[in-house]
Symmetry: C2
């Protein structure tokens, strides 16, 4: 009879210790290098507990000791610091776009070690894309050392992902319905590793809040402007998900009744007016140039006249976003990054035309702090999440010989 | 030196006790009659602690003992129940519409004791409306017994209310900017009592979630369809507020570029197509009939043909709401209540035309559980909120002779 309560208490203590391990690791992940004194203050634990947790994370090869950075030194004796170990475990992040996929190997701390890109053909079959992505994963994983552990894979998807199981319910611009894409990728890799899927804009918002343009901001919207347009929304510090995870589909706001058909099955959606095909048409790009649209826009130093009406319509649609979510920051990602850079006046004018003044007065439009990598790094953050909940369990489920297995 | 820690501990214990008092009161408020056994289970406190809290709330004249309702009796000895005291304290709820104001005296438990209504003239001055509302408040308060305590006043407003201080930043259809309406009402009453202001749709969502069509629902949208159109959104169980409290302004979604000017300063907003003036025009109501529009719609048993295009546009706009918030319930309040009752097929068809299938599959359109009183009762819930945080402090700030003072 005495064994059970003891075991219960022991299990509970173990759960608390793992929670603290994960929380400490997240602090180091978020901040880069942190002193023990800072950790003591942030976590509300005493110095010896912090020292014990640091030792254990060190033994797990997740962090390493560092001399404190000069700028962080507080009064008195400098506190020894810790930082992420570069040769520690990693995740694979996948940014699946409609016309291009980018895959990266990302370590704790958000560091990108390797990346690879491939073109996605029009109206692709899911298994084809799965094979393409598996190839890219092999490229970035086989460059790692033999001992580094693969914690998991995170995939950003341009569509509606069901929160409960990661099923892609609908990706309009890929014409995918009810695709279990996680399983397809794992089958193509012959690997059994945790895989998580999320909506691209939601993941852009996540990484921009964690280490981009919106650190410490509770109410923000990340707009992904690609072939489709979507929003990732944080409200009061929490992600707006909706009942099944589909919230934020602003690309299908009614915008132009004379507008063309949308892949969603409707007409005149905002994304038909401001998405990549509309930008490409305005610039008279041929169909085969559309995948290069980002580069074409990047190379421009001034806006051709044809872009300006699209920028106005970008601003008008953003007005709806601002009226509906009342964010303090709207981050313009994807092709909207160069479009905003080139046509800031038109975007701002479009916003002013339709936003309610109090909501407009509260908001700032801005470029992503992570540039073109917001969505990719958000996919990495999603894949890293379990290691901050329970590092021991996450490492136990990791694949330690991924490099060798995928090279074979 | 020993005094300070003791006082500190005492204060802390007192804070916990007041918190428990408020929480117990909220359970009784939400459920009507509750047994002590249920309270013990819900609050995770032992029977003697519950008994002590019940005694104190009884002494504060907030609740009274009741024999347990038959249906709630659990196995074994029936547990003595408690319920809200009818002669206990009350709040005044104000539903300020663009053409009509309703004021009610509401007790704990959400019971409406008295109500009064007045017409609001077009383009009214805030002080005029304040005087009108003060008159209605007097009507409903002077019928109370001399001992009942007025806890506070809650006002639902058709516009943007700044969360930090309750300032009406913009009420487009009243043409009000930066109006400190709470102060105006209190000055007209010569009373010093807590007054809170909130957006009408937000308050509709609050009351529908607490005791209406969405009890236990985490992701819901309440749409208020009046002269203007707004949304109150709950996501993951929490109100979507935005950084300053202005979130949910769906009435100004771009809907019809051929549409007329909107009071917000823009054109073709959804509310210009589906709001009360559009409905009135379709029904060929004269301007002086518009305040009676609700009654006119209520008296109809079948929809005149002219209403059907408006119902389609209601559904099309709801598609945006569904795509953006992915709620499990959308509650149609205000004039949309009779419109949905009369034209359910058209509203549903409009929704189907533009909503993404996965989001549409997750949602149910429904009528308010509280009928036309959702917003009014939401204003009451807002005014009652402090008594659930700390009943002792709330009663200390109440006005006990409001009836006599307002009659004089």
């Amino acid at each position: 009879m005495t064994g059970a309560p003891r075991a219960g208490t022991g299990t509970n203590q173990e759960a608390v210790r793992r929670h603290n391990l994960g929380t400490l690791l997240r602090h180091v992940h978020d901040s880069g290098e942190v002193s023990r004194a800072e950790l003591t203050g942030r976590m509300g634990l005493n110095r010896s507990t912090i020292a014990g947790l640091v030792t254990e994370l060190d033994e797990l090869a997740l962090i390493e000791h560092a001399s404190p950075a000069t700028g962080r030194r507080s009064a008195g004796r400098p506190s020894a610091g810790v930082r992420i170990r570069e040769d520690g475990p990693y995740v694979v992040a996948v940014d699946l776009g409609v016309d291009r996929a980018t895959v990266a190997r990302v370590g704790l701390g958000g560091r990108v070690f390797d990346r690879a890109t491939a073109t996605i053909p029009p109206e692709p079959e899911a298994w084809q894309v799965g094979a393409t992505i598996a190839g890219l994963v092999k490229q970035v994983v086989t460059t790692t050392g033999p001992d580094a552990a693969l914690l998991g894979i995170g995939v950003a998807v341009p569509g509606l992902v069901r929160r409960s199981d990661g099923l892609i319910r609908h990706a309009p611009n890929l014409d995918w319905h009810d695709v279990s894409f996680g399983s397809i990728v794992l089958a193509a890799l012959s690997l059994d590793v945790p895989i998580a899927l999320g909506n691209d804009a939601d993941l852009g918002a996540l990484s921009e809040q964690r280490r981009g343009a919106a650190v410490g901001v509770g109410d923000l919207v990340y707009i992904s402007g690609n072939v489709g347009v979507g929003a990732g929304v944080m409200s009061g510090g929490r992600r707006l998900e909706g009942v099944a995870g589909y919230a934020g589909e602003v690309g299908h706001l009614y915008h132009d009744p004379r507008g063309g058909p949308c892949h969603c099955g409707s007409r005149g959606c905002w994304e038909t007016v401001v998405g990549a095909p509309a930008i490409a048409e305005a610039l008279r790009c041929s169909a085969d140039q559309v995948p290069r649209l980002g580069d074409i826009l990047d190379e421009m130093s001034t806006a051709p006249r044809e872009l300006r009406p699209i920028a106005m319509d970008l601003g008008r649609g953003l007005a709806a976003v601002v009226n509906i979510f009342n964010p303090s920051i709207v981050i313009l990602g994807g092709y909207f990054l160069p479009l905003f850079r080139l046509c800031r006046a038109e975007v701002t004018a479009g916003l002013a035309e339709r936003a309610l003044v109090p909501a407009r007065d509260s908001v700032r439009l801005t470029l992503p702090g992570l540039g073109k990598d917001s969505v990719l790094l958000g996919a990495a953050e999603m894949a890293l999440e379990p290691v901050f909940v329970d590092p021991v369990a996450s490492l136990a489920g990791a694949v330690t010989d991924a490099s060798a297995r995928l090279a074979g």
